[in-house]
Symmetry: C2
Subunit: 356 residues, 2 copies
């Protein structure tokens, strides 16, 4: 076999201006992604600043820069995208539309990146709404939760598509051949939940045989989020965001409580010294896995949103995720799933009902 | 002062037949409540069984029994109440309606107790829906979360009432003079959330000046649930139930992870031995505080639902809570708040809009 026949690695456009530690830590992370993992990266942001940072890293020749004079502010509203056509995120999206890049990585504000990339990359044909997918640190495999906040008010048909977006993600990034999908609701028996959840479950059951087939496992509850029994948990963006933040807050609360308990007496303090390394490792695992990066699925291009507090290591991880998703052609996989699903009988029947 | 002038303590009807450890542990808990705290209790359930258990505890003279030949099964549906008019929960409700008891304590299935008591005690005049309130173990004061699952599909007007139900609970059970109320949503700025949350926040802001006044602190997010910044968190029963179970699952997950980390190396194991007592205390605090008992607010009578796995101590705690709420006349407080609120200008304006 001729090795030159292998397709070139996808180019990842890294927004160098977004995040609490931009641009220095972003540049460092991009340099690591290129040097340690051989990824192809283009940095997007203010040319003079980025060029001197790259020189400091002795990487000016290894990474090209696409100039963007503007940046999104961290708390910019939904209109940010229209107001800032020359922001680093907007310029990165332009690279993707032109075919010069396949993926965007940004540590900018989630709201700003979601709005900008949705407007500029547009949803894939047939996709009703893009959904934000996050990773829950379950073992042995991570669980994907979506939508984690892109659509506060959703319809059952959107949630069915989210199930397929999530399944494509699990296949591409985690190598799961038949992802198990659950729907977040209250009560484990069928028919439990609010109107949205009940209709979604009905529709998922009706279309599970395909095309494309979906391994729908029924209802999951809040306390199932971290037990790893499914690969994908589907919900609307309001419930998903509340659930995700409740989990994050509770884990932090529990760690703090453990910390207080471990330093409450002299004997316990000695014990804590002996365990410091074990606990530190645990906390690091939580932080890095929870904050590995959210993915906006369903757009014409791969979008990975790293945590705003990301340092070089977080950006490096986000680039790796973007590389895996874009290299695994998740956009094509989503297109195949969605076009098959919109032809499936249960789905058409349902759409017919809605038009009444 | 003549001591005889003090009103007698409220009578608590304890469902002896509900829960994983019924009736033995329920009877033991009731006996403790009477002996240790001087509460007034009547046990409801099968007479022969309860009478021999009371004799074992040497308490046959201290606690009366109200006979109920039937019980609710643990997973009984919404029609349970109609099917089982002689269940222990139904008989306890009859005692309350007759004025022979002021409160019900049950460790039966939440769904069954909610349905039965709602049908048999009815909502208070002006109350649109009863709401299930749970306690989150925040410090220094607990936070009340409601609705935790009684109403999967709610309207903004119901959530405004839930705010007042929760405020009455915080005043009566936790002695908070001006309870701070937050609304669970996504994003901290006003105007964030789904349609329900946005309309509810608007309505809460419009009616916060009263009557009756409400210290409405605006939006809270999932990670704020355990930081104790508000005394009451208002949400619909779907979101509330998902959030509560997410928190419970995440805390359990974190404790398990800590446990694994603390026994992962020999040095860490020695440390864990030194800390065993501190960690055990922490876990106990979590279990007892989280599972202290949910309260169904807005009915003509006080209803405390203890955790299904409650043993004697849990039942004793639930009886104490019922005693505090009934003794503090929470039903009267709710009536005053709701009748004032339904006359408040912002509310009437809003109701007028809805009738269009």
């Amino acid at each position: 076999m001729d090795r030159a026949a292998a397709p070139p690695a996808p180019v990842i456009a890294v927004d160098a201006m977004g995040g609490d530690h931009a641009p220095r830590e972003i540049v460092k992370g991009a340099v690591c992604a290129v040097r340690e993992h051989g990824l192809r990266v283009v940095l997007v942001g203010r040319l003079p600043q980025l060029s001197s940072l790259l020189q400091e890293e002795d990487a000016a020749a290894a990474i090209p820069i696409a100039h963007a004079e503007d940046t999104l502010a961290m708390h910019e509203g939904a209109l940010a995208s229209w107001r800032r056509p020359r922001s680093s995120v907007a310029v990165a999206c332009r690279l993707i539309r032109r075919g010069d890049a396949a993926a965007l990585v940004s540590a900018g504000s989630t709201g700003g990146v979601v709005t900008t990339s949705t407007v500029r990359l547009r949803t894939q044909p047939g996709v009703l709404r893009a959904a934000l997918a996050v990773i829950l640190p379950t073992r042995p495999r991570p669980t994907i939760l979506l939508d984690a906040g892109a659509n506060a008010d959703a319809k059952p048909e959107m949630l069915v598509q989210f199930a397929h977006l999530g399944a494509a993600y699990a296949q591409t990034a985690h190598g799961v051949t038949e992802p198990r999908v659950g729907m977040l609701t209250i009560g484990s028996e069928p028919g439990k939940g609010n109107r949205l959840a009940r209709k979604t479950a009905e529709l998922l059951s009706a279309t599970a045989d395909g095309p494309p087939p979906l391994d729908f496992r029924g209802n999951v509850e809040g306390h199932d989020l971290l037990n790893g029994e499914v690969d994908v948990v589907v919900t609307d963006g309001f419930t998903g965001n509340v659930a995700l933040k409740s989990v994050e807050g509770a884990v932090r609360f529990a760690f703090d409580a453990v910390n207080d308990a471990l330093t409450s007496s002299r004997l316990a303090k000695i014990g804590a010294l002996l365990q410091r390394r074990a606990l530190r490792g645990l906390r690091a695992r939580f932080d890095s896995e929870s904050y590995g990066g959210a993915v906006l699925l369903g757009l014409n291009g791969t979008v990975v949103i790293a945590h705003g507090a990301s340092r070089a290591h977080g950006i490096e991880r986000a680039c790796l995720l973007a590389h895996e998703l874009a290299g695994g052609h998740i956009v094509d996989q989503v297109r195949r799933r969605i076009s098959a699903n919109s032809r499936s009988p249960g789905w058409l029947h349902r759409l017919g009902q809605n038009e009444d």
